[in-house]
Symmetry: C2
Amino acid sequence: MRAGIFHAPGNVSVETVPDPTIEQPTDAIVRVRRATVCGSDLWSYRGVTKWEDGWRTGHEFIGVVEEAGPGVRDLECGDEVVAPFSYCDNTCEFCRAGVQTSCVHAGFWGGNHDDGGQGEFVRVPMADGTLVRVPEPLAGDLSKLAALALITDVVPTGHHAAVRAGVRPGVTAVVVGDGAVGLCAVLGARRLGAERVIAVGHHAGRLEIARDFGADAIVDARDDEAVVARVHEETSGGAQCVLEAVGTQPSMNLAINLARPGGTVGFVGVPHTVGAIDLRQLFSNNVSLAGGVAPARAYIPLLLDELAAGGHDATPVLDMTVPLDRLGDGFVAMDGRTAIKVLLEVSD
Amino acid sequence: MRAGIFHAPGNVSVETVPDPTIEQPTDAIVRVRRATVCGSDLWSYRGVTKWEDGWRTGHEFIGVVEEAGPGVRDLECGDEVVAPFSYCDNTCEFCRAGVQTSCVHAGFWGGNHDDGGQGEFVRVPMADGTLVRVPEPLAGDLSKLAALALITDVVPTGHHAAVRAGVRPGVTAVVVGDGAVGLCAVLGARRLGAERVIAVGHHAGRLEIARDFGADAIVDARDDEAVVARVHEETSGGAQCVLEAVGTQPSMNLAINLARPGGTVGFVGVPHTVGAIDLRQLFSNNVSLAGGVAPARAYIPLLLDELAAGGHDATPVLDMTVPLDRLGDGFVAMDGRTAIKVLLEVSD
């Protein structure tokens, strides 16, 4: 099969590798129909996090069950499925508590042990626990593949930001970041009933999508002090809920400074800067920092039901579509910020 | 009157200063009966936080209303009162939300603007908002003065750690720190219904008090790795609720590492190290960091009612009592860890 391979920062290609096979009775092989490039793929692409020559790329994919091991009970060949960006047994104590990313058997796609999502096939461990079957009327609807692909990661991650920030009816929510996750966090804040959503970013085109997704106000983020002043003015002293979707130190500290006393920052940007965050500010204002890697598996059924019922569609964040073999072009576009998010057409 | 004055690190004395007078109609003058020395007083005493020559000391006091301004409605001369460690109007939006430490008119005792708690009299701004009248049968009971003095700060701060860590019936709570606040955090965890409380510290005598306060297990904290291993073993993967009551970077990171995936660290130790906390660990495990300066004013009525009903008594943390003029000895003892917490007898 063809699959994305990382070689060095700035060097990702699609090559022929061995087809995966069933290794454990509970494995399934999924034929990938659509995959996507994630903002977090860029950290290794840019050499910020270590990734080694020859490792597989990608962790966002949807497809069709091609083969199921003898221990797979709930899925059969031909089932259309959505994969969360990490696998899990969905039965352990942490899974039952809704933290499937901390499953005692958790693992992440790609790297040197597992198939990446950016390839023609993926061996899926613990298929019954990991995969979610696409419900009617979405199953069989080719027009929904792009929307489904977003439910693997960015839509649940944006939702998680809203959940962790404690968004509830009546609050004002501020979203920091206008990447795909930030835009999906706007959807998340709306889904949970925020009365008002303020989007902070610095790309006019992306902020327009934020508005389409339900943001009431848009704040340009180029000058942090001005952002703080503007948001504090709009909220009379800060927002109850701040959704941080970038993961850098300046962004985290900006988010902390936008929160109201007693408020909460829900952070879902992978924290690549472990430097000093403003603990004194958190302390003085009783601001909570409640973030984490999204337990996508926990939210996918809800998000599929919502999509099936004609709800939100996050596809405006997908502004570039290429076949799998042009994966490298997708990385270049996202790295250069000429694309928000890239959809890979892998198979029909 | 006599009052504590800071001169330089390691140099605190009691001197004669002008008696306070009513400055605003809503002020009251309180005659102090008991005051205490706080662990947080030690930060300036040790030169870690800036405090200037001539500034007043102390923020924990109880007493009797000596004089009330014409705008004071709810209190009268002779009322026995408890003061929270910061003053507030108790009517603004933040006060109504239970974050009185973020009151739009909030202020902290001592320094160069306000009377400190370690003195014979204190001018109390916004007396109706700030002070809480001591209820029957505590009023008039001299034997309860020490217990009342602890309700100004350490008891509500320990309670806040439990509130912010999300302690609820059935959880296991781990308390990091065996100072007065940590010990009161054990009481807080018990008050909120923790099924099991594990106290982490490194002073045998203090940990014995933790046991008396309701800790089920005691872990010696000298070796962080051993503490993590022991707590993870006792809790099968970490505690749902961790109460951090120290405020140093190692203590904060220890607390984060003791939390279970999806758990919460409630931190109330004033964070004097704003260095790197383990954000990646928070992120990977969906651990929340929810702390802050305790809105003591919010909890004092509840804590007084509990004490009046014969509930907890935190006085075992008071292991040294001196008259006000021996304030310096109290600082020396707490700085040298020969006393957990010092009670000052100011007037009868």
